[in-house]
Every structure is written in C-alpha cells, then in structure tokens.
Subunit: 257 residues, 2 copies
Amino acid sequence: MEKPLILVTNDDGITAPGLRKLVAIMKEIGDVVVVAPDSPQSGMGHAITIDNTLHSKQMTIDHEHGAPLEYSCSGTPADCVKLALQELLDKKPDLVVSGINHGSNASINVIYSGTMSAAIEAGIEGLPAIGFSLCDYTWDANFDGATEAIKTIVQEALTNGIPQGTALNVNIPKTDGKLPKGIKVCRQAKANWKEKFDKRFSPSGREYYWLTGEFELLDKGEDTDIYALNNGYISVVPTQFDLTAHHAIQTINSWNI
Amino acid sequence: MEKPLILVTNDDGITAPGLRKLVAIMKEIGDVVVVAPDSPQSGMGHAITIDNTLHSKQMTIDHEHGAPLEYSCSGTPADCVKLALQELLDKKPDLVVSGINHGSNASINVIYSGTMSAAIEAGIEGLPAIGFSLCDYTWDANFDGATEAIKTIVQEALTNGIPQGTALNVNIPKTDGKLPKGIKVCRQAKANWKEKFDKRFSPSGREYYWLTGEFELLDKGEDTDIYALNNGYISVVPTQFDLTAHHAIQTINSWNI
C-alpha cells in the first residue's frame, strides 16, 4: 500500500524543535515533505504576501531525522501552504499538518495563530489539515507526552477524513513529557486578551511600545478547549473558515437599511 | 446630546483615499479619531506585532477634511485597534469602522483581510465594529456611490448595536459614483483562490515568486455576498470570531481517539 503524502509546516520556522518533532512523528506514518517559513512567523494570523516577492530554498536541516525533501520559504505560513500545493509538490498531499507550535493556540488565540492559518489555508484548498500546539512557549519545550496522541489523531484523520469546511485545532497541555489524560473534542472558549502596552523610550528619546497582555477567560463552560487543557486533556476543536454568524442575519435584517 | 465617538482605521494606510472618505462621512455622524497603519497592510489577515516594537505618531493629514486627532502606527490593523483602545483614546469608542478598503473583502477574502481584522479585533474587545470595502482595487476608486449606504448602516449600528460576538463585513459594488441598487444581508459565499505563482529570476539568477491567482466561486446560492455584489447590491455579512464548527463536533467525537 502506498504511504500517505504528508505536508508539514509551522509558524515558528523550519528549524523549530516543535516542527522537527512533528516531522519525526509523521515519518512513522507517511512520506513527508516540509515547506516551512525561514524565520519565525508567530502572530501572523492569516497573512499572505501580496506586495512582495517570495523566495524558497531546498535544504537539509537534519540528515538523519529530517524529511527527504524540505524547503524553507520567505513567506508566512499561509504562503508556505500555497507555494507547496501549487509549485513545490508533485502531487496533492493526503494531509497537511502544522506545528507543533511552541505555545497555545486554544480559544481566541486561533485568530492570531500562524500555525492554524496554515491548516486553515489547506482546508480552504479542500485538504484535510490539522494544527498542533503545545501549551509551552519555551524553545526547549518537552513534546514527548504528545507523541502518541498526535499519531492517533493523524491516523484517524487519514482514515475518516476531516469534515468539509473545517480544519482541526489541536492543543496539548504542558506535561513535561508525561502522557496527557486523554483527548476531548471541544468548542473554542470565549476569551480575549487584556492588552497592556509596555511604553519605553529609545536612546534618542523616541517613544515605542511592546505589546503584552493577559489572557482573560470569559467562559465557564466545561465543553471548551481551555477547560479540557486546564484539566490535563488534549483539546480538539474543529474550526471553520465560513465566518458567517448565521444566527445574526435575522437581527440585521430587521434594521432599517 | 453627546456625539458618538468613532474610531476609524484601515489596512491601506493612513493616507489612503478610502480612509479619507470614511473619515469625511463619519465626521457628519460623530467625533472621529483615526489610528491607522503608517504603510499599506493589505493581506495581513489577523496579524499582530509580538516580536517587534510598535511606534505611533500623532499627525495631521488634511487640515480641512481630516479628523482633529489622528495617529499613524507602525503595526498591523489589529495592532492599531489594540493600541487605540489601550493607549491612545481617553474613552471607549461607541463604534469602530475600518476602511473603506480599496478592493473586495467579500467571500473567502475576509480570511486574508486586514480591514476586517481591525473590525474583528474591536468585536473581540466587545465593541460594535464594521469593515467597509469597495470592489475596486485602484487608488483613485470612486467612493461616492457608497456614501449614503455607509451613513445608513453606521446610524443603524449606533442605534441597534451589533449582535454580540460579531462584526459586520460590508462590501460595496464598483459603481463609479452611481448609487448601488440597495443593501442585502448575506452569508459568506464559498470560494477560494486558484493560485498561480509567477516564477522569475533576479539579475543574479536567484529564483523568486509573485503570488497571483484567480477567484474561484464554488457557491451557486442567491443569499451570498458575491451574488449580491454581482447584482449591484451592497452586501452585509455578520462575521464571527468563534471559529468552532459546531456541526462537526459530533463527527469527530465518533472517531476512535
């Protein structure tokens, strides 16, 4: 039986340990091609490069553990997927996986997530796609606890497909190598970021800001991704790119417009 | 009666004619503050600046027709909204409007849209927000046909509020100054971009790409934004930032995970 072709990308860049781990796991399941940003693209949301040129370079990161075919790309995660599908791959992949992100993409973070933008871009192109994130922002995060669950989810996705019009947002609790308690299918928790701008002055006296903030959970539901993660479970949220708030159409239709 | 405070932003940059037009229209309705990118940010999706500093500068673009208070910001449209709400404004605005974008943000374009990311960011912060886009990519696009409809929609939004958890995506057909046929509340049409990468070589022989593509409509519905626009109507789509595909949760729950 032919092995499935799996495209791996991310937003932390082609050398990120989380991506190297995902490549290692995917090599046990299929033929792997990597097309990933040449530099970190965190917080890029669903950005694409339309007013600038894109560069791509075939490269080898790790002779022993890498994929046989890897490309770095100067663009965003969504650019990587577009370039892979249209230019770099000989055939359509059976699955697109993005990550493993260093940091949570649960709840409202999905909106700002480069990791998930790659998965959603693949979903828009009609391909099964999954974004994986570990709730640990450090570069030397321990991804070992996630290995078995990632394998299981990917194998189920390859067997069953993923519902049309969706991509999966998988977040994994920080367990420092221990196994999470299990996997929960969830909805996105309602939340936002309480921003705080750290205002500073450059040596020449020019004002500038660093964006910082605190995550503010506005949701007491026990069926949310945050609830699952806080209780030691992996969260799986099917996310969609039809942003229509169907329930609001009737309300707006009652306006005098 | 106190005038409403309206924050105006966009993704084409603070000098874009579409923003200047929106400022002029909003000045007839309320007190206007502008916080907009200092350079074009089209295609930025919901990007935010987390690995770099942000700069902001108070400035005057047009003494006669501008807003009394305008700031340019070095960040993305979502950054502009965050910075405005947390640092630059003295009080919460009653409404946030983004645009008028030079080019369509209907259908799947909403995903890549900097214009809509600003509106959605404001929505996440709990504020009524609307993104306006004209289906004309040129810098000297004629926005005159849109004036009355924009006024009407903004006044209705100020009167009724906007349904919680949504922001409005308003697209206006290219009419070269003539009035559109009317306003339709719609759902987002199913579509994608058939990418084509224009491969070129630099003078030194290095390969590079320009992203180009053709819009591919995959939806025959007569209740979509594209259908409305193609028939000369303004489309209003309530968009949401809860990306959960609730209908898919049951399907994934049947997996063996």
